[in-house]
């Protein structure tokens, strides 16, 4: 299998800073991050200056940058909280973007070695995906494995990978009710596989540890779905789940792949699931409507770019979900605004 060599300058690592002191986070990732350009975006609700160690090639964006770029042109796009990273995506001009939550550090694999999540995401994005037929030995482009007997030959070239979703050891990405019920549940199982999530199969795409091909799917990674009482813990958001399903629909339509599995990151303890649950579980309820919608949405032949696809999804959201809940109507509006903004920024 030929090695795909990518240049370091094709990658941006985008970090949304929800906490002010990024020292231990950056130091933990230094061996993996230092080769690459970083974009750090400060949560506009976070006051004061971020503490960032030196020795990195990075750009820092704050609220004032957001105001300059977005200005008063949009009242619906918000970069508050976890959504601050989307500003980084907007600003990036690189082909591949990797994004990790600032409460995650490198994990160790089953041999006890540190996992280079950046390298693994890059591998996932630069090797083909196989969404049309399930390979029982998982990613056939991985070293030491292949397509199994019975896998049609015409499908063995695969398609380009648009999205790579990694996983989490220690604090898995459970919702608040699940974590509250099992307060001591920690994920210790290292599953040594990457697989392509089949076409037309939806999944809850967590934003904690992801990477994507910005050229192919960039516009689909958007801040659109804010809960009424969205907070600063993942348990208090579903914005990434919404975005992830949009991105999956876009990839399915454009015949791109979405991979899930390696790399793992180690997610540190933060927050209280019980407290989050007390605050709100609107997100959990809304999934009941959101998931069936994304499972059935279909795009037209005319949608040939990610921007086109997002516009069509937004229209469907407005028409089908918008009636039942103003939150969805707002999300649809935000998606339309986002595409406008995306195009505007790109044309400069």
């Amino acid at each position: 299998m030929s090695q795909v060599i990518i240049q370091d300058d094709e990658v941006d690592i985008v970090i949304g800073a929800i906490q002010s002191d990024l020292t231990s986070f950056m130091e933990a990732w230094r061996p993996m991050f230092s080769r690459f350009h970083l974009i750090i975006v400060q949560d506009p609700d976070l006051n004061g200056e971020l503490k960032i160690p030196g020795g990195f090639n990075l750009n820092l964006y704050t609220k004032s940058d957001m105001d300059k770029v977005v200005g008063s042109s949009s009242s619906t796009i918000s970069f508050s909280g976890y959504s601050c990273r989307y500003f980084g995506y907007l600003m990036s001009r690189k082909k591949y973007i990797i994004s990790i939550d600032d409460d995650c550090i490198p994990a160790k694999d089953s041999k006890g070695e540190l996992v280079d999540a950046v390298a693994q995401h890059i591998t996932n994005l630069t090797t083909p995906a196989t969404p049309f037929f399930f390979n029982t030995l998982y990613d056939p482009f991985c070293k030491g494995t292949d397509f199994v007997r019975g896998y049609p030959f015409s499908l063995r070239n695969g398609v380009e990978c648009g999205l790579s979703c990694g996983l989490w050891l220690n604090l898995a990405d459970y919702d608040a009710p699940t974590q509250a019920l099992k307060p001591n549940a920690r994920n210790s199982r290292y599953v040594d596989a990457v697989l392509t999530v089949p076409s037309r199969t939806m999944l809850p795409l967590s934003g904690i540890n992801i990477a994507f091909n910005n050229e192919l799917v960039g516009p689909a990674l958007l801040p659109a779905f804010r809960l009424t009482k969205e907070g600063k813990f993942r348990w208090e958001t579903v914005e990434d789940i919404w975005t992830g399903m949009c991105a999956k629909v876009v990839c399915d339509h454009l015949k791109l792949g979405v991979k899930s599995g390696l790399p793992y990151v180690w997610r540190q303890e933060r927050g209280s699931a019980v407290e989050s649950l007390k605050k709100e579980w609107e997100g959990v309820q809304l999934m009941e409507e959101v998931v069936p919608f994304f499972q059935s949405v279909r795009l037209s032949e005319a949608a040939v770019t990610a921007e086109d696809c997002v516009a069509e999804i937004a229209a469907s959201v407005k028409e089908q979900l918008g009636r039942s809940n103003p939150m969805f109507a707002r999300a649809a509006e935000t998606m339309v605004e986002w595409i406008k903004l995306w195009k505007q920024v790109r044309s400069q």
Partner: protein, 356 residues
Amino acid sequence: MAASTPLLKDELDIVIPTIRNLDFLEMWRPFFQPYHLIIVQDGDPSKTIKVPDGFDYELYNRNDINKILGPKANCISFKDSACRCFGYMVSKKKYIFTIDDDCFVAKDPSGKEINALAQHIKNLLCPSTPFFFNTLYDPFREGTDFVRGYPFSLREGVPTAVSHGLWLNIPDYDAPTQLVKPRERNTRYVDAVMTIPKGTLFPMCGMNLAFDRELIGPAMYFGLMGDGQPIGRYDDMWAGWCIKVICDHLGLGVKTGLPYIWHSKASNPFVNLKKEYKGIYWQEELIPFFQSVTLPKDCTTVQKCYVELSKQVKAKLGKVDDYFNKLADAMVTWIDAWDELNPSGASAKLPNGAAK
């Protein structure tokens, strides 16, 4: 955590096709001995297959198959391990585990021997989740759960019809891949079980497979292969595509992943190439066919689904090759034979060793 009484001892049969001997059972003895075996002897019926002492079993050779099925016996392959599906038909148990006679006990990364049967039973006894992919794989396994964003209304899951295990050492490659990579061995232990999503097909390997006979048994026909047939090594593939379409239609789940067995013998790639040759081309027509099959709402049983499928096979694949006309007929013969040997309403449960 392991119970001292093996689970489903009186509800599960182990079906093993063989032409050589069953020495491999010695290594499986600690895990298999409590269960009833159905041995399907392929090839020369005058040969005696020696079964290690201490196992409770029934054995069928070609003469037995011909006697029991009469003219319908022509749906059961000869000189191909596809004949194993005769064992599914004559079983009276709820669950089947089938394994090839060159599959040994594997070890997990900690060095512990894997009880593949126990893992299959676990897989079959807990629900599947075909409608929405859980990124942490089977949420019903200890140590894991549904992830954030997974709708609660889908968390009950659906009954699991099939558990598809994997293989360490010699991987299940087709002949061309074997020729290109004769030395490749599967050394990666992937500690996961997962549900294959609805609407997605997969290559089902019959080497290490378990299923709920009551839920899907009649669709587990392994086709016409081997002696007198233009194709081989597509028996389990064919069954896998049929069962997946039917499971998707009936709302049943298919799991893949653990358990691993140790596949010890690499078959001859040149012999395999001859067997698979037609299949490699036909596959290109078969996959679009199965991907686009729809079954009418009134197909509410496996048998009805299967017979309907056979009609569509004849209508759409008959023109690919006349083989598919014969196969479609054989599919119907299989269902007739199945229903004859498994009349509904008759008591299905016979405890092991009961004299009847």
